[in-house]
């Protein structure tokens, strides 16, 4: 009997060495499909961007290495004596133009617009002097144009614009507007609006910096433009709120149009309540009617029209609740997990520890799948849950067998292997999942 969900692990990129041998610069820090799903971009801690191109072959789809370029270099801020990391925090694709791909990449401080295109390299095969073998022509009538020959096609990445010096704090998100002309960049305390064509000016649209930094209680954790309405954007905060803002209302959008927050029962507050309520990622669904937010232990689906409570709250890894003290000690409680929503809005995905990640069916309860992005995953044994539960882990290539979330033992989990970054193909159920320095592709 085949499983209903045929999520299969199809590809893995990156060298599959043990965790201790991984070079820090190879750790993938962001993954993003483009609008067609034909290209996949990854950024790593070393400031490099690697692009993969889809090619369809008889076995199905396959992604192949396309090009790689160094997007950001480590910098030193002399005024503040701080190193600026070259780690790529986000990549966002723009619409392709003239056979060239465009994307925005950002590190903590600087955003760059890259154009990636194929260039034909031409070489000079014959010139007037034949490289010294021939005497210069006697008179002007014998002067010939050098002959060029196309030798190879290369993929070149050219930085078209560099948007620098606009952020004091670390940039955590960028988002391109549906109008194709503007984009926003968000750091911990401010959100700026840019025009793609102008790199020396940006507008500040949200500023939550307190007058006295000692009174700091809230930071911005993620921001995104509405996929269809060019005037709406939302941002999430460390206090567990998601605010939707309308740029038509005021130049400075400190007043939110809507605030999505589920007020917690004060009796159940404990030491960790505030930390685990911090939203780490927030996404619009493709139709813009739903918002998916991820905090440390749960995934919440909000209907844009209902601010009071989410439509659905999913417990991602409840078994971690008794371990919060240890997770605070080793800083894992501050990990920022991303979440993804499928192109059709019917499914959502988010990561966990031990390289586990789960795919949830948003339309109805049940039908959740738990997988593991591990090189050994496809060799998992066939195990059946006693009540035929549908949660499975480590789906082998033929799509059968696996374990359940209930079987996960928090003591035996490797908290150094976590799925923080991932991307969902916009048009089909294919997932690109980053596990430390490896990229896994799963397809349904």
């Amino acid at each position: 009997m085949e499983s209903e969900h045929g999520w299969k692990f199809t590809q893995c990129f990156g060298d599959k060495a043990d965790l201790e041998d991984v070079t820090e610069a190879d750790i993938i820090s962001t993954v993003e499909f483009d609008h067609t799903g034909d290209y996949l971009a990854t950024g790593d801690k070393g400031g490099r961007v690697v692009l993969f191109e889809r090619s369809d072959n008889k076995q199905g789809c396959e992604y192949k290495f396309y090009t790689e370029f160094q997007s950001h270099e480590p910098e030193f801020d002399y005024l503040k004596s701080l190193e600026i990391e070259e780690k790529i925090n986000r990549i966002k694709w723009l619409r392709p133009n003239n056979n060239a791909l465009y994307m925005l990449t950002t590190n903590d401080k600087t955003i760059k617009l890259w154009k990636v295109c194929e260039k034909t390299l031409k070489q000079v095969t014959e010139n007037n002097l034949l490289d010294g073998d021939r005497a210069p022509p006697a008179d002007i009538a014998n002067l010939r144009l050098p002959k060029l020959m196309s030798c190879e096609n290369i993929v070149a990445a050219i930085p078209r614009k560099i948007y620098a010096n606009a952020h004091t704090y670390h940039i955590n998100s960028i988002s391109v507007n549906s109008d194709g002309e503007t984009y926003l960049s968000a750091d911990d305390l401010r959100i700026n609006l840019w025009n793609l064509g102008i790199n020396n000016q940006s507008f500040n649209i949200v500023d939550i910096k307190p007058a006295n930094m000692e009174d700091l209680t809230e930071v911005i954790t993620a921001a995104e433009f509405h996929p269809a309405s060019c005037n709406y954007f939302m941002y999430s905060s460390s206090k567990g709120t998601v605010k939707l803002c309308d740029m038509r209302e005021a130049a400075l959008c400190d007043q939110h149009a809507k605030q999505f927050e589920e007020v917690e029962d004060p009796a159940s507050k404990n030491f960790f309540s505030e930390i685990i309520s911090s939203v780490s990622d927030v996404r619009f669904s493709a139709d813009g009617r739903y918002v998916l937010s991820r905090d440390y232990l749960t995934l919440r689906l909000w209907d844009i029209n209902m601010e009071r409570e989410p439509v659905r709250t999913i417990n991602v890894h409840d078994y971690l609740k008794p371990k919060l003290c240890d997770l605070y000690e080793n800083d894992c409680i501050f990990d920022k997990f991303e979440c993804n929503i499928s192109g059709d809005g019917k499914q959502a995905m988010t990561g966990s520890y031990n390289n586990y990640f789960s795919i949830y069916n948003l339309a109805d309860e049940g039908g959740d799948v738990m997988l593991q992005a591990d090189k050994n995953a496809f060799r998992a044994k066939r195990v059946q849950g006693p009540n035929g539960s549908k949660s499975k882990v480590g789906i082998p290539r033929n799509g059968r067998g696996g374990l359940r979330k209930e079987d996960v033992d928090p003591e035996s989990i490797d908290y150094n292997r976590k799925i923080l970054h991932s991307s969902w193909h916009p048009k089909e159920n294919t997932l690109a999942v980053a596990a430390t320095n490896n990229l896994f592709i799963f397809t349904d």
């Binding site: 701080l82 930094m213 000690e329 800083d331």
Partner: protein, 363 residues
């Protein structure tokens, strides 16, 4: 130093970087170095350390006085039977008489007593519950006039240490400091006087804020464990073990819940009397003087002058909250023992240089 190196910090137990968000100069706080990402730094700076070992499971359990003191007795003085904890009364070394502050109890010194008696055999420690606090019972529980408290202290010391020849060191925390400073002259063989976290000027300035604090805290607790948890979570007591020992004596059953043993608001009329004149009483006390502060108080003018004149020893323990003896019992204990050692009376036998002339024969 790389900003935001969260990955490399994994696996390091404990934090190595400062979590202060305060800037060196207020106007250019954009130039402050953020040792880690702002969100993490903000959370860590704003919340106290969580208790060790997960408490998500059960509530903290109370601890027994008998693990910290040898002896507990009811001592009648006047119209009140005082609950007195003590250790080492049979020895020959110095006696440390410990007076707790308003709203506390003798068990606040539990960890301190155990540490000191273990570090220095021969020491005796006496800590009692003051009128209207802890296990002390009697009439006139609300009379917390300074004179009354001083009489109580003198009475308890006389009863517990009759005809005492041992050296005595008086130690008072907060309100207790006001009491021991005045009682100093009325007790025999007082070698040293120690005040813990109390300065007249700062106390007088903050008197107006105390009712607000009293009212803001929860009036009842569902269980003893939740009372202990509240003290720890609100950073009233930073040491979990000490909170588990002392908090149960601060609450009393009220119906099927627990309320505060000592109603502090009705004692407001007495507050001024406690602290007025404390600095001069301390600076002129006929004993060696030691002031232990958590560093958050600044010395008032009188004490500052006295300190410059070398009239007392000042010990700063900035890592502690107000209940220094509970937060850092080992540090306080070591300080008290070395304070006693340094101020011991030297018994130098008198040696005559020139022997007296022999008696002249009668002429």
């Amino acid at each position: 130093m790389r900003a935001g190196q969260a990955w490399r910090a994994r696996g390091d137990r404990g934090q190595t970087s400062e979590h202060s968000l305060a800037s060196s100069t207020p106007e250019d706080d954009d130039c402050v170095c953020w040792p880690m990402d702002l969100r993490q730094g903000m959370f860590k700076a704003r919340t106290p350390r969580p208790p060790p070992g997960g408490r998500a499971g059960g509530e903290p359990q109370p601890l027994a006085w008998s693990d910290y003191f040898e002896n507990r007795q009811a001592v009648p003085v006047g119209d009140t039977r005082f609950n007195v904890y003590s250790s080492g009364l049979g020895g020959a070394g110095p006696v440390f008489v410990l007076h707790h502050g308003a709203g506390h109890s003798g068990l606040t010194f539990g960890l301190l007593a155990r540490h000191m008696c273990a570090a220095e055999p021969g020491i005796a420690v006496v800590a009692f519950d003051a009128r209207g606090h802890g296990g002390t019972a009697g009439d006139n529980e609300g009379d917390l006039q300074l004179e009354r408290l001083v009489d109580d202290l003198v009475g308890v010391v006389d009863a517990v240490l009759p005809e005492n020849k041992r050296d005595v060191v008086l130690v008072g925390h907060s309100m207790g400091g006001a009491v021991v400073a005045r009682a100093c002259r009325r007790i025999a063989h007082v070698l040293g006087l120690v005040l813990i976290d109390i300065v007249e000027g700062s106390a007088m300035e903050s008197l107006h804020a105390i009712p607000g604090f009293i009212v803001a805290r929860p009036q009842t607790f569902a269980t003893v464990g939740s009372a202990i948890s509240w003290h720890i979570d609100s950073a009233e007591i930073q040491n979990e073990e000490s909170a588990r020992l002392s908090v149960p004596s601060l609450i009393a059953p009220a119906g099927d819940a627990w309320a505060w043993r000592t109603a502090l608001l009705p004692t407001e009329p007495f507050w001024r009397s406690w602290y007025q004149g404390l600095s001069s009483a301390f600076a002129t006390a006929p004993a060696a003087r030691l002031l232990i502060l958590a560093g958050t108080d600044r010395l008032d003018k009188e004490l500052l002058i006295a300190q410059m004149q070398g009239k007392f020893q000042l010990e700063l323990l900035p890592a502690a909250g107000h209940t220094i003896q509970e937060d850092l019992p080992e540090r306080v204990g070591d300080t008290l023992v070395s304070f006693w050692r340094r101020n011991q009376r030297l018994d130098i036998p008198v040696r005559r240089i020139n022997p007296p002339p022999p008696a002249k024969a009668q002429e």
